[in-house]
């Protein structure tokens, strides 16, 4: 029987929470709260032209107004929601497709595995944004769903490759051979042995993917390929503020800050998770 150190799923670090996890969690949590709040309350209704043209920040309009006199704070709050929804959706989709393909590749015959690995490498080499643009262009107009689909599929390749490598490492373990000999079928092996052992690394990767998905969504919206108005995406806000960046810089700074804070939050969170959940790292401390 193998004595390879494999931690059981659900292990918790005993040391105090790493600071990146805390700061990251706070930033992401803040956006989550704002996103949830925007469902029930925003300072103004999203399309209402309540102020003057390109007003600066004030007590009435915390982040100023855009060219149509719409409140920017309202739009940024809704932007949080769009970013999180697209991020979640894309990561979930990417995870579903990626983990499935990755595990299948790990179990596949040598030839099929090579083909899949090559295909994944090609998909990864393809710029995420370009792939997303192709998907949006080939569907019937851009929407929230095409954005999720596009970013999810683009991200799934990375998840699949990672899953394949991780799963292959587990599958080469002696205890898998033992499980096979004792009659456990492949689905059982995946469920009992593979997934519990690869998930800590995958979760960290998902958190990183989340950050990338948020940026990808902003990029798509910046190009006019994201969720169409009245969905207020940060990317679109940035694009609209571009022409007036000299006279009303806050119009670009505010959504920029929102975007940066969420992405940094997600990356810190991922780093923290890695420290907390990666058994080898924790051991080395």
């Amino acid at each position: 029987m193998s004595d390879t150190p494999v931690v059981s799923a659900g292990a918790r670090p005993k040391s105090s929470m790493p600071w990146p996890l805390m700061v990251g969690g706070l930033l992401v949590g803040l956006h989550l709260v704002i996103a949830l709040l925007s469902l029930v309350w925003t300072p103004y209704a999203v399309g209402d032209m309540v102020g003057g043209r390109l007003e600066g920040p004030s007590f009435v309009h915390w982040a100023g107004t855009d060219r149509l006199g719409r409140d920017l704070m309202t739009q940024i709050m809704i932007g949080s929601r769009i970013a999180l929804v697209v991020g979640c959706g894309a990561v979930a989709l990417g995870a579903l497709i990626g983990v499935t393909i990755g595990v299948l590749a790990a179990f596949a015959t040598r030839t099929l595995d090579d083909v899949l690995a090559a295909a994944l490498d090609i998909l990864i080499a393809f710029p995420t944004l370009l792939l997303a643009m192709l998907i949006v262009a080939s569907s019937d107009g851009a929407s929230l769903w095409t954005a999720i689909l596009a970013i999810g599929i683009a991200g799934s390749a990375i998840v699949a490759r990672l899953t394949r490598i991780l799963a292959k490492r587990i599958l080469s373990m002696d205890y898998i051979t033992a499980a096979r000999i004792s009659g456990t079928a492949s689905p059982g092996i995946v469920r009992i042995h593979v997934l519990p052992n690869i998930w800590p690394t995958l979760i960290v990767n998902f958190a990183l993917q989340f950050g990338l998905a948020v940026i990808a969504e902003a990029s798509l919206s910046y190009l006019g390929l994201g969720a169409p108005p009245p969905n207020a995406s940060w990317g679109r806000l940035l694009q609209e503020a571009q022409a007036s960046v000299y006279t009303a810089p806050f119009g670009a700074i505010a959504p920029g800050l929102a975007l940066v804070s969420l992405v940094i939050g997600l990356n810190l969170f991922a780093d923290g998770l890695r420290e907390a959940a990666d058994p080898t790292r924790r051991r080395s401390r």
Binding site: R53, L68, E240
Partner: protein, 508 residues
């Protein structure tokens, strides 16, 4: 694309407007002089533009940038559309029109030579017109010249053009026909025109230089050389002016970048009206837009003034139809279907849509269309009409809307001067079909006098507005910024022209 340019394609967008007084001066061809006492007769003028031509031939899909650089500067035509919108003779010294209006006899200006040294003859003119009407020509003006039945050249100085039907706009249409030496070759990379400047150097992707042609038959240009510097991005262009690498920006695209020039004594900001119109074009063939009441209701539900203010701040002009004030058939129709959401609701109800309806606006992905679409979305929501915004690229616009007519409504900017005639073509992308208008526009073209033409087109214009054929929002402003040491540039630059020969630059 037959006789039509959107702002995106007609990139040049150099439609400068002027105050009436200035327009009168410009009409006489006398450009203003520099305020600075000393101007350098051999100065090099650097013009900053966003519209580099694809090639140097306006019949080969060169794009609007070539008109900006070459019209009136390198190439001349029989006639010229002046900056004030009038048509005056250039290479046609005398014109006689037969009684029936079907035969035009042009006597050419004597002593004109091409840049290659060859003299101008009637054969060159025939060659030049046929180049535009040829099967392979991609000229956007091809259609307007199709009434030409034949061209004869009885002697070297006389051109006789025979028409199949009267065409009052012939001199105007001929102002787009560059007179090219009939022996010239490789016109996409070289030139052989009769203009005051000859091509000096074209550095693809960067600049196009034209220098004074010493054997020019007419008045000498007021500068020695003109260099069009091409930029791909407006901010870079603004910075180029700020740092002094260009002297003039032909057209500023956003009011907000003006702040850096406006209060600076080193720069002059000139504002005027253009012929570029922003409109919401319905597909008038399909329900509910085949119903005039629906179209009128939507026109009344949108406050144009607010939209103009959002996009252009304090610049721009409101219009009530497709015709800008610089056209002779302009009428102030802004009162027709003016902003009135209450009556809009009532009209919708009368039309059978008491609870409104939902439709999609195909929106080009570049400014100002997306913001305009959002504005319309929020205005129409107030009368119960739901708008879906579908963002598309300029290419998609061309195939989906212009070619396939597969749309409900679309936003678009139309650049051209005198383009009301599109409403007389039921096959045009918006599918407006009012037999009376079609007939009036046809009659206008076969008018015997300009007054008759103007009267007919004015009537058509009024009917189109009453029908709310499309929803016209505003006329773009035309804003040029220059160093104060530079003056005498055209302010209207209709149809993207930018006559450079009047520009003076003070000695530095």
């Amino acid at each position: 694309m037959s006789g039509f340019e959107t702002r995106n394609q007609a990139a040049g967008r150099s439609n400068r407007a002027v105050t009436t007084a200035l327009a009168a001066v410009l009409a006489m061809g006398a450009f203003g002089h520099a305020l600075a006492a000393e101007s350098d007769p051999d100065a090099t003028v650097n013009i900053g533009s966003l519209y580099e031509p694809q090639n140097l031939d306006n019949t080969a899909g060169a794009g609007q940038g070539i008109n900006e650089a070459f019209n009136g500067n390198v190439y001349e035509a029989l006639f010229r559309l002046t900056d004030a919108g009038t048509v005056e003779p250039v290479l046609a010294k005398d014109t006689t029109v037969s009684e029936d209006g079907l035969t035009y006899t042009f006597t050419l200006q004597p002593g004109v030579t091409f840049h290659s040294g060859a003299p101008l003859t009637a054969k060159d003119v025939k060659f030049s017109i046929e180049r535009v009407t040829a099967e392979a020509s991609k000229s956007s003006r091809k259609n307007s010249l199709k009434t030409i039945a034949g061209i004869e050249t009885p002697d070297d100085a006389t051109v006789v053009v025979k028409l199949a039907a009267r065409s009052i706009s012939l001199p105007y249409n001929l102002s787009y026909v560059w007179v090219v030496n009939d022996e010239a070759t490789d016109l996409q990379a070289k030139e052989d025109g009769t203009g005051p400047y000859a091509l000096q150097e074209w550095r693809r992707g960067s600049s196009l230089a034209i220098a004074r042609f010493d054997k020019y038959w007419g008045e000498k240009p007021k500068n020695g050389e003109v260099v069009f510097q091409y930029f791909t991005e407006a901010t870079a262009l603004n910075n180029a002016l700020l740092t002094g690498s260009v002297d003039i920006i032909t057209s500023v695209q956003s009011p907000d970048s003006l702040a850096q020039f406006k209060d600076n004594p080193e720069f002059t900001v000139s504002e005027g009206k253009s012929t570029t119109k922003l409109l919401l074009a319905y597909n008038d063939r399909v329900a509910p837009f085949d119903n005039v009441k629906v179209r009128k209701a939507l026109a009344r539900a949108i406050e144009d003034e607010k939209l103009l203010k959002a996009v252009w701040g304090d610049y721009g002009t409101l219009i009530g139809s497709f015709v800008p004030p610089t056209d002779a058939w302009y009428a102030d129709l802004t009162k027709v279907d003016a902003y009135d959401p209450e009556s809009a609701k009532a009209l919708l109800k009368e039309a059978g849509y008491p609870d409104g309806f939902t439709f999609t606006i195909d929106t080009p992905n570049y400014d100002p269309h997306p913001i305009a679409a959002q504005f319309i979305q929020s205005e129409l929501a107030k009368i119960g009409v739901k708008v879906e915004i579908n963002v598309i690229t300029a290419n998609e616009w061309y195939t989906k809307i212009y070619k396939a007519h597969d749309f409900q409504a679309t936003l678009q900017e139309h650049v051209n001067h005198r383009d009301i005639v599109f409403y007389g073509n039921p096959d045009f992308y918006w599918g407006y079909n009012n037999p009376k208008v079609v007939d009036l526009i046809k009659q206008a073209e076969s008018s015997a006098t300009d007054a008759e033409q103007a009267e007919k087109l004015k009537e058509a214009n009024t009917i189109i507005a009453e029908d709310a054929a499309s929803n016209w929002f505003y006329l773009y402003p035309q804003i040029a910024v220059s160093k104060t040491t530079v003056s005498g540039y055209p302010l209207n630059g209709l149809n993207s022209q930018f006559f450079a020969y009047g520009i003076t630059k003070a000695v530095e």
